[in-house]
Every structure is written in structure tokens, then in C-alpha cells.
Subunit: 289 residues, 4 copies
């Protein structure tokens, strides 16, 4: 297929590489061109404008946040795009923006698919991402081979693109709550002189298997948060988006508010670029340790 790719941060570049490896033609654009160059060596065509990438059979995008997406996917870009193009937005954006983009694309005959992903850059590099996709079924069918080159599994969530974003934000909120809980539990254990590792052995062997409790728990047990695999400030971004999505449907999320405050505490203490697990240090700090 003839594919465009917009946004080559750590996640985007790994995805773009896997699309190339799968044999597709790829035009790539990034705001700072030097991040695009390594892909040229792999066969991609580096283009100078988002519009040049926003063409062909489908375009994939992975921009940093709502502001970047709003700036790039503006009216003029959509106006010049070929009708029937499929745009697959894999970034974690707000539900409100997803709704607005879906509307704006449809008004111009462009198919908008929301397909946010779960997994860190190393998972993206291994093409093992979990993808939650929503949008017009036919459009998703068309890009499914590309999604298969990026992830290990695509979950289909119906025809309204923003539903994929809601699920992604709910999942990230669940993650944030679990890490905050581990941090608080760690502070409780430390207060009574019990080793966090003993606790983790018990719960990860019984009720709480899986990567989250074992992985973040280990970082908290070691009180070691650098280098970050997933930065606290990115976790805060996701919690803010979850709170905004909940606000939009007048739904209180009290645990999300607690995590938000703990993450603000982390950022205020210069820990924003540390791993999300630094919530363990925040909980310890509250307890004077």
C-alpha cells in the first residue's frame, strides 16, 4: 500500500519501521526533519509538508498531544486531501478532539479511524502493540494489514472513533490507579518494616499477575525511577485526559483526582521525567520517609 506517516517520536518511528519492513511504500513527515532521516535509509521518502504525507491509500499519525494534532490536521490540510483517504490516528488524544476530528474528516469525505495503542516503545519496536480501533468498518478493514504489521492484536470497538479513545483513557486510568495503589501500599509496608518485595511475591503469584503489578512494583521496591520507560509527566497527561472525558459526561472519578494530585506533587519535585512508578516516592514523601 501507499502510506503516509506523520509524527516520528519514539513510538511513531518504531511503527513506521515496522510498516516499511512489511513491504509498504512510505512517505514520512516530522516537524523536525532530522528525526525522519533514519527512515530514509530504510527506504522511506521524507517529505517536507504534512500535506505531502496526507495522501495515498492511507495515512497514519502519531503526534504528541491535542495541540500538535490541532495544528497539523487543520481545515486546509483536510481540504486538499484526496477523497476516500483513510486517516488512522494512533495517538492518545482527548475524546473531545476525537469527536471533532471525526466530524471534520467526514465532512470532507475522509475516513477517520481512531486506533490508539497500548505498549511502550520497546513493545512498538517488537510489533507487539495492542491496538484499540474504532471508526467506519470498511476503512478499518482496508488498513488492517498495516495494523497487523504494527501490533499483535487489534480490538474493534465499533463505528464511533471516539469510543477507542475512551477505552484507551479508561485503560490508562486503570494503570495509573494501580501504580498509585502500589505506591501507597509500599508506604504502608515500609511504615511497619515489611519488605515490598515480600508483598509483591505474594500478590503477583495470586490475585495480581501480569506486567503492571510486577513491573511497577519492582521499580518502587528498588526506589529506582531512571531511566524512565514511561514518564510521570506522560502519565499525568493521560490522567488529565481521563478527567476531562469524565467531566464531559458529568462523571466523578475520585481516584483519578487523587492520582492527578500525586503526579502534580511529583512534577513539583522535579520528578516529571522519572518513571511513572515515582508515585511510590511521592507516597513515601507524604509519610515523611
Amino acid at each position: 500500500m501507499d502510506i503516509g506517516f506523520i509524527g516520528l517520536g519514539g513510538m511513531g518511528r518504531a511503527m513506521a519501521e515496522n510498516i516499511l519492513k512489511a513491504g509498504h511504500r512510505l512517505r514520512v513527515w516530522n516537524r523536525s526533519r532530522e528525526r525522519a532521516e533514519p527512515l530514509a535509509a530504510l527506504g522511506a521518502q521524507v517529505v517536507d509538508t504534512p500535506a505531502a504525507a496526507f495522501a495515498g491509500d492511507a495515512v497514519f499519525s502519531m503526534l504528541a498531544d491535542d495541540a500538535a494534532a490541532r495544528a497539523v490536521f487543520d481545515a486546509s490540510l483536510l481540504e486538499q486531501a484526496p477523497r476516500d483517504l483513510v486517516h488512522v490516528n494512533m495517538a492518545t488524544v482527548s475524546v473531545a478532539l476525537a469527536e471533532a476530528l471525526a466530524h471534520d474528516h467526514a465532512a470532507r469525505g475522509i475516513h477517520y479511524v481512531a486506533a490508539p495503542v497500548m505498549g511502550r516503545p520497546d513493545v512498538a519496536a517488537a510489533a507487539k502493540l495492542t491496538i484499540v480501533a474504532a471508526g467506519p468498518a470498511e476503512a478499518i478493514d482496508r488498513v488492517q494489514p498495516v495494523l497487523d504489521a504494527i501490533g499483535q492484536k487489534t480490538w474493534r470497538l465499533g463505528s464511533l472513533p471516539q469510543h477507542a479513545n475512551v477505552v484507551k483513557l479508561a485503560a490508562n486510568f486503570t494503570l495509573a490507579a494501580a501504580v498509585e495503589t502500589l505506591g501507597e501500599a509500599s508506604a504502608l509496608l515500609a511504615g511497619h518494616g515489611v519488605a515490598m518485595t515480600d508483598f509483591l511475591d505474594v500478590i503477583t503469584s495470586s490475585a495480581f499477575p501480569g506486567p503492571v503489578y510486577a513491573g511497577y512494583g519492582k521499580l518502587i521496591a528498588q526506589d529506582s525511577y531512571e531511566p524512565a520507560q514511561f514518564k510521570a509527566r506522560l502519565g499525568l497527561k493521560d490522567v488529565r485526559l481521563a478527567l476531562a472525558a469524565a467531566d464531559a459526561c458529568t462523571t466523578p472519578l475520585p481516584v483519578a483526582s487523587v492520582v492527578r494530585d500525586s503526579l502534580l506533587d511529583a512534577l513539583a519535585h522535579g520528578e516529571g521525567d522519572m518513571d511513572f512508578a515515582v508515585l511510590g516516592r511521592v507516597a513515601a514523601r507524604r509519610a515523611g520517609r
Copy 2:
């Protein structure tokens, strides 16, 4: 071995049966004698006083709460007990009570082992409980064959009995936080018209495998909380104990306070005997649904 057993609620009776099946002699006591009778049919000797059970090689206990334990394990009981007896307390009690009982037993030459368990009555019946045990190593060694008849695995947490209680309370707090989080996530999803089951499929297949997210999530998705497997009021009891243990070491647990308030809301609405998953209904109620 010659064993006493005190406290024959749903959990206690299942444990006592498994001890009998493993071939041990068993004297059993319960405040209301009729709950003890069925065990007589299996070969147990029903006794009339806690003191008659508090003898032999070892005594196991599974009383409902701190108040029951304080009432039974009083100074006169300990005074008349044989020196060198091992008392294994499997109930979820406060850290403060565990410390007090450990002190009082030691003062009279009785070995006190805290061995709270994880698992519901059906798990107890299947002898598959997870046991966290702490206390004098030699005492635990002596009763290990009995623990093996009750559970599938015993985690050893050192020589201070209360450390087992801290781990148990931290684990239950982790459970409570996960259920509250599922409830809040469910309210967020419903607010945007997304099916809870779609969300559960995604997270239980990726970051959150294991029985907690799948099991409680399913109850919330079905909005079905009766009959309860684990009652909301028992969950509240555990969260209160976690908060008390944290207070004792001046450690804030903000997520635990949130869960406590949600559980109070459940009880205030007559949902105390429903399953712990009723936190999903509480979150929906806050959102006017």
C-alpha cells in the same frame, strides 16, 4: 497431630474439614454450638469452651473480627493453656491486635503465629488458600503440615507475627482499590456509551490478567451483585483496618479513603450485603445513572 479449632464461620468450617481429611485429631469450638455439629459427623470432637479447644499440639482460630478475638483470647484463657502450645490465628485482624496478642502469648510461653489467608470460602473448601505466615520459625515449621492441608502455598514473612497482617491488609487494600477503579472506569465508559465488556476484553488480555479484573469487572458489567461472594461490608472492614494500620505509622493512604467513602455510600444505600463489586453501582450513582 492433636489440634484445636476456634471459630467455624464459612471460612473456618472449610478449613477445619480439610484438617480432618488430612487425618488430624480435632477439637472444635464455636460460640453457637450448632455450627460445630456437622463437623462431629466427620470425626471432630465438639467442645464447650474455648479453653477446651485451646490445647493439644496446636490451636487454629478464625474468628470474625478484633472484638471476637479480644473476647476469646483473654488473660484467663492464656493462663490455663499448656506452655509450648502453638496458636495459629488465620483471621484478618488489626495490626495493633496482632502485636498485642503476640506480646501476651509470648509472656505466657505460648507461640503465636499470624497466618491470614487469601481466598473466598470456595477456595478454602478446595484447600487452595494462599497463606501468609509470620511468627517464630520453629512454631511455623511444626504446623506446616496442617497449613499444607488448608492452602496451596504458605508464604513465610519472618518472625514478627504482625508482618503477616500488614501484608494481608495491603493486599486487601490493593484489591479494594482495583474494584473501585473498575467501578469508576465503568461509569466513564457508560457516560460515553461504550460497553464495559469491550473494555474488559482489552485490559484482561493485556496489562491486567488474573482473577480480580476479570471477575469483579464481569459483575460490574452485568450490574449483578447478588448473591455476594465477598460482601461489601467485609470489604469495608478490611479497608478500615488498612487505614488504621496506616494511621499507626502516620502514613496517608488517600485512595483507601476514597474507597472507604464509596463503601459507606454502598452501606448507606442498603448494599452492604451485596458483592464488593457493588462499587460499580456506587460510581454509576454518583454520575446520576
Copy 3:
């Protein structure tokens, strides 16, 4: 003085009337012209565009929210305005917008004064508002006679306009926290069968005199929230702005998050147009009453 006035809601109209009564010439603009007409009968000139009002010696504005302010005070309006004009923005807007407007006005040689007010429409009608003003000292000096026609006291908070907005939001947060506290206290008292009025008599005669505790407390005691003097949805708007201002300086405000959730609960139950004191009903609902 020759004065423009933009935004004639309940508060704006009362202020505009007092400016007229003080003998100033007034051009008024409102998005829906019919709200402006009654002022014509008092001598105001109704104009058709914001630009026609944004002229003369000074212009005062009282628009509903950030979105309205952004829409009206855009680049083209500022571009055509006379240099040296003083713009006094009396609305409660976000700190971020106040900073942006201050910057945009200064870039075009227009003086921007933030002068948010405290008091409800009846206080505005009586010209008894409390005004907190910040911006260039000389500009405030110039409009002080007009401010004196609107309020009973102007507090000067330095030369940075956004400082006035921060103080206003902190004051509204303080109010919101007090009302939430009264609501929770009321639920506690009711739970023990104690009359809220007895409690109010005690605290308003001792530690908590003043209009807030007596006034909102009385509404809660009567469980009577209509007609609203200050609507719950406006209170939520202010709490959101306080949280946003705190987020911008990485400052957790846990009490504000609690109030936000209670207000979302109110709106979700169709109580958004009831008086702010409806937080008492929310607290009672949480307690199953």
C-alpha cells in the same frame, strides 16, 4: 467619561445601570441585542458590534466565560481599537486567558485591567460589589471613578492583571470549600439526629460569623435550593478554573477536587441550576438520605 460596555447578563446589566446613574456616557453591546434595549431607556447607546463599544475613554466587559471572551476580544478587535484605551475586564476568567489578554492588549498599546468582582446580582444592583483590580496603576487610576460607581471597595493587587484573577479564584475556591463543608457537616448532624439550625446558631455566633456560613447554611438546613442565587453550575465553573490555575503551577488542591466531584454529582442529578448550597443535598445523598 465616554465608556463602552460589553456583556449584559444579570451582573453586567446591573453594573451598566450604575455607570449610567453616575452620569457617564455609555455605549453598550450584547450578543443578543434585546438584553441591551432596557438600557437605552436609561440613556445608553446600543451599538451593533463589539468594536463600536470597544472605544472611547474606557471599555468595561462582563462576558460569561473564557470562550465568549476569546471570541470577542480577538486580534481584529484589538487592531482597530484606539491606542491608550483602557479595557477593564470584570469577568471571572482563567488565569491563562488573563495572561494572554494582558499580553495581546499590551502589544497593541491598549491598557488591560483585570477587575473581577465578588457579589451576586443583588449586590451588583446595590453598587456594593467588592472589586479586586490589577494592571497598570495609571490605567486603574483613570477608571477608579467608574469602579466607585459599581462597587463599595476596590482592592488593588499590583500591576500584573492575572493576579486579580488568581485572588478571585482563590476566594471562590474558599467559598466552594466552605459550602461543601457545611454540606458534609449537615449530613453528619442528620445522621445523629441533630438539627442543622442548632449547629448553625452555635458556629455563626462564634468562630464563623459572616454571610457565607449563615446564608448557605440556612439553605441547607431548609433543604431549599430554588430559586438559585448562585447556581451550582457556575460554582463548578469557578472550581474548574481554580483547579486549572493550580495545575498551571503544579499545585495539588485536594479539597477543590472533592468539591468538583460533588458538583459533578449535582449536575448529573439535574441540580445544576439549583443554588450552590445543593452540595448539602449531594452530601445527604451519599449518606443514603
Copy 4:
């Protein structure tokens, strides 16, 4: 009248002095006798047992906490007391203890009056306390002359003693919430470079007059918490009692939970003996300042 007085801490001693000054005969008892001696110089009779004080026309008590009250007012003390004695308990105790004491006294024909007070030691010394009294009307009538010697006003709250305790705890919760709010507001203001004193001038001149906002606000503005007028650890005791009273009637008090966590943070940082206003420092610490 012939009066006994039990408990001579800072508050108790001031009250006892005022009773003496009013011309009553006074027998005083304190656990450590040396605190009682200064009253002997003023004419009081120092006695060696609580029982010796628990006699005469009426006995007043002001013990530190529930544990002290339970230890002193036990079955044997009540058993030997004269029938028809009036016991006025002025301490801040739990609602549960108030109920229990009311029951135990009534069972032995002793009149139990709960009369907790509002005000610090300097207010007690000036005989300006605010008293909230509940219990048998005739009993209160009998001791009213003594209450008039201690306080400036007695509020009567009906015949159930515990109602006075509920009002007292609700009032202290209101105070705690106001101080926490001031602390959070201070952190918000500081984050934007606004002086706390400017904010205080505005709110204490308008919506929030009275001693609480001005007094605690000033301490926070000065970041000066020693010597304490009301210690943070005593504030925490009161918040715990409010939460326990709310728990007993299944009433969530989310703001109280927030204040509790902030106070635990203070104690964990060695600030327990500083003034309650140290909540301002806790809020600043969360914001990294």
C-alpha cells in the same frame, strides 16, 4: 456549690480557677498531683483519688481523650458515687463514648451532661468559652451558674448528651476544613506570585470575617507555627473523632479524609506540636515549595 473537678490540663486548670473565683467550694484531682497544687493556693482542696472528687453537688471533668475518660469513669467509680450527682463532661470525646457514659451513669442514677467547649486556653482563662450542653434539662439547670462562671454563653442542645458532642465535632471539622482550605489557597497564590496577605485582606473584609480566617490565615502568611495555640496533633484527634462519628452513621465525609491525610503528613514531618495552621506548610510541600 460543692463541686469536684477532674483533669487539670491547660483548659481544665483555667476552668477550675474560674469556678473558684465564682465562690464555689472545689475538690480537684489530677493524675499527676503537682498540676493540682497551684489550685490549692487559690483555695481548692486537692484530693488523692477520682472518687474523692466524684461527689458533692456536681463534678466537672476535662480529661485528655477517650482512653483517659474510660480509665477514670469506670464501673467502680460510678458504683460508689452519690445518687443524684450531676457529672458535667466538658472534654471532646467520641460520640460512641458519650453514648456509653450516658447509659452507664443513668443506670446508676447519676445525671450525665455533655458540655464540650469551644475556645483555646486563653479564652478559657478569660471565662469566655462557648459551651454546647446537652443532657437532662433539670441537671443542666442545676449547674448553669457554674457554666456561667466558665463561659460567656451556653447553647442548650436537648436531652441526649451525645448531641452536644456531635455539634462540637462538626464545629471542629468545619474549623479543620477552613484551615486546610486556607493552606491550599495559599499554595495556589504562591504558585502565581501573589501575596497571601493581599488575599486575606480581601476575604476577611467581605465574605469571611471572624477569627478563623484572619487568625489562621495570618499564621500561614507568616509561615510561623510556633509556639502553637492549638496543636496539629490535637486537630488530628478531632478530625479522627469526626470521621468515627460519621462512620457510625455510614456518612462519607470526603473533606475530612483530605484533612486527615494532610495532618498525617504534618505529623510524619515532625510538625505535630506546631500550630494547626501548619496545614499551610503541608500544602506548600505538596507543591514542591
